[in-house]
Symmetry: C2
Subunit: 73 residues, 2 copies
């Protein structure tokens, strides 16, 4: 008997709406998929401060990504 | 005797300027750091088609990211 497969989203414990772009070491964007229907944005902070899930619905998320793109060298 | 540390960039074998947003499963943006001074954008393609490095200097890169952000559900 095969159990129902559950969604395997990564962001289960709340989303943040704001992260300072300069604090971001790495950013992962997972598009909607069979394993998780939500788009998910996971930010790895500098200085070993861990990871946060950024709310993709927050207008800030898009702005943050644009800022990161501008800070490229 | 400690050797000189070398840059540890991830994108060593050429960058692509264009990827169809719908083919993207996951996108990673690495900001400039001590281990690699370039900003790097790594795209994981759907259907196990591997990873590509997206050229952050290409205007297309920013547009691709904006499109992905719009396709969220």
């Amino acid at each position: 008997q095969v159990g129902h497969s559950k969604a395997r989203c990564l962001c289960l414990n709340g989303l943040v709406n704001h992260i300072k772009p300069l604090h971001i070491e790495m950013l992962e964007v997972y598009t909607s998929s069979h394993s998780c229907r939500n788009m998910e944005i996971i930010v790895t902070l500098k200085n070993g401060e861990g990871k946060k899930c950024l709310n993709p619905e927050a207008p800030f998320a898009k702005k943050t990504i644009e800022k990161i793109m501008k800070n490229r060298r």
